[in-house]
Symmetry: C2
Subunit: 330 residues, 2 copies
């Protein structure tokens, strides 16, 4: 397990959503491990893709702008050994306002990718970016992988489809696919221009701009957080390990924290900032999931994975990143 990183040296790897938040961090790490990286991204406005995310790696990572819907993927997957499948629409609110677009991107696109792989490169290895959103409002905590799937919004439903397509293509066609169910991920290179891609990025923005952070509800909702470096590490392990094939695996953290405590920590580390607690807007309240933190026992066993970046250190590095590069994110 300790030398899985050697696995990527000289290997051909394709990353969908490769200019996005997690995708770009993964591409950079893969390039550091001397993989041949192809980042595919549609650069749809508002979705998180940002060319600056590969700043400094322009000569080491190949970029191809393409929609993963359509037959371009049939060409792009050829000759690739690992596919990290991170293209997606991540806004829960957007999925309720425009459920059809969410379906196109999170559900239908996945069929295009899997059909391309089945036809052109069935020996490829796939790791899919799933989400804790498939569980909905937890009926028990921490949430393990057998927790019922009761999503509260259309995004959660379409992400279930995207994930299950991978498992059916694994079972029916032998395509080596696995899914990591991500919880709140934070860190450098996230879209923080608008507040529809998760609260953590939006909080970062407010901190960097010195604006007041608004916490919905009472601030006592507990959540778990992963720094993007830890998430990248999990993807690398799942991509290298045969034992991950056909598996669904939670990421997450053993140390949930209330939103109020999170914000207080951010303000302290940033050396300034303010917050207020306000009632939920209706459209957010009806899809809110309350307390959530994941059981990551399976990730430990199957991937040998452990989140290593302490929250305070991760927040500190993230705030420094956005302060340094604010022109590229704000």
């Amino acid at each position: 397990m300790s030398d899985y990183r050697d696995f990527y040296q000289g290997r051909r790897v394709i990353v969908t959503g490769g200019l996005g938040f997690i995708g770009s961090n993964l591409c950079r790490r893969l390039a550091d491990l001397q993989a041949h990286v192809l980042a595919v991204d549609s650069l749809l406005p508002d979705y998180g893709g940002n060319r600056f995310n590969l700043d400094g790696y322009e000569n080491r990572i190949e970029v191809n702008i393409a929609d993963v819907q359509g037959r371009a993927m049939e060409f792009l997957v050829q000759g690739q050994e690992v596919l990290f499948n991170l293209a997606g629409q991540v806004s829960h609110l957007d999925s309720m306002r425009d459920p059809f677009t969410d379906l196109e991107i999170n559900c239908r696109s996945q069929l295009w990718i899997l059909e391309a792989v089945r036809k052109m490169n069935p020996d490829i290895k796939i790791v899919y970016a799933g989400t804790r959103q498939v569980y909905g409002k937890p009926t028990r905590l921490p949430v393990d992988e057998t927790h019922p799937l009761n999503p509260t919004d259309v995004n959660g439903i379409n992400k279930i489809s995207g994930e299950l397509y991978h498992l059916v293509y694994h079972a029916a066609y032998g395509i080596r696919a696995s899914s990591l169910r991500l919880t709140n991920t934070y860190g450098p290179r996230q879209l923080i221009r608008h507040n529809r891609q998760g609260f953590i990025g939006w909080f970062m923005r407010q901190i960097v701009l010195g604006e007041e952070i608004q916490i919905y509800g009472d601030g006592r909702q507990r959540r778990d957080f992963n720094h993007v470096d830890d998430v990248v590490e999990a993807f690398l392990r799942a991509g290298a390990l045969e034992t991950a094939d056909g598996q669904i695996i939670n990421l997450g953290s053993d140390s949930p924290i209330s939103l109020l405590d999170l914000v207080k920590t951010m303000v302290r580390i940033a050396g300034g900032g303010s917050y207020s607690i306000i009632p939920f807007p209706d459209e957010r309240k009806r899809i809110d999931i309350g307390d959530f933190y994941a059981d990551i026992t399976k990730a430990r066993h199957v991937l040998g994975w452990e989140p290593l970046v302490p929250l305070e250190q991760g927040i500190d590095r993230t705030i420094r990143y956005y302060r340094r590069h604010r022109a590229n994110y704000l």
Copy 2:
């Protein structure tokens, strides 16, 4: 509970897939209960819609040919009090051969219907036709509603989406929706022209034509069966009862039977016929679910429902129906 049938007298009811197998049987029963019935069907070739299914009811049931995808539904749902949502593509094999079409019909269409309802008639009551296929290969028997969702084919995944959209629209927008998860349904008015819509209809066809029935595997797979009259009864109850709102409820039977015994019974009742046992074709084997029978405790409690048609009697009536009307089904 005993007089829920009065509920439908004079009520305006819309049935999607109303010319199909279960939809047409439901429309006829609703007309008998003196509801104002609007049957909506796209009459796509090979999908089960058949104008003859409403034979004798032409003056009592309004028929509108329309695709449930698109904005026609925004008009059609207006003024309706109950929507029985049975439009769908039911072939597992087709869903693997052409996953995009299955997605369009079983997943995307449901968003069109729910968006039409949300915009134009949020007070309508909906009962959705779900399927036991969402469970996949059972990990325990009988299968209750909390069994994990591990579908073996694309159809099962898209039916999960269709069902969960209803539940999310219930939770987020207060739309009164429920889902019945159907097991093998048999009876008059099923499509039996080809063998891609479930084995029971195909067996009926072979019996009526006097051709040899081919059983895949070893014939020992146990399944449960509902006569369509019982299924119609469950829909009527779910449509009338407030306690069904937001619920997912299995249909099924307490008396599973092996496929071999089923075929022997059919041959005996038909007074002739033959069968053979052959290996699974590959494309069927990889999506087969093995033994399946449902736990129907919840249907008993929530709907007061009980399957009443004995299998032998149901088979007898079905064979007689197809013999009498074979020109319309073969």
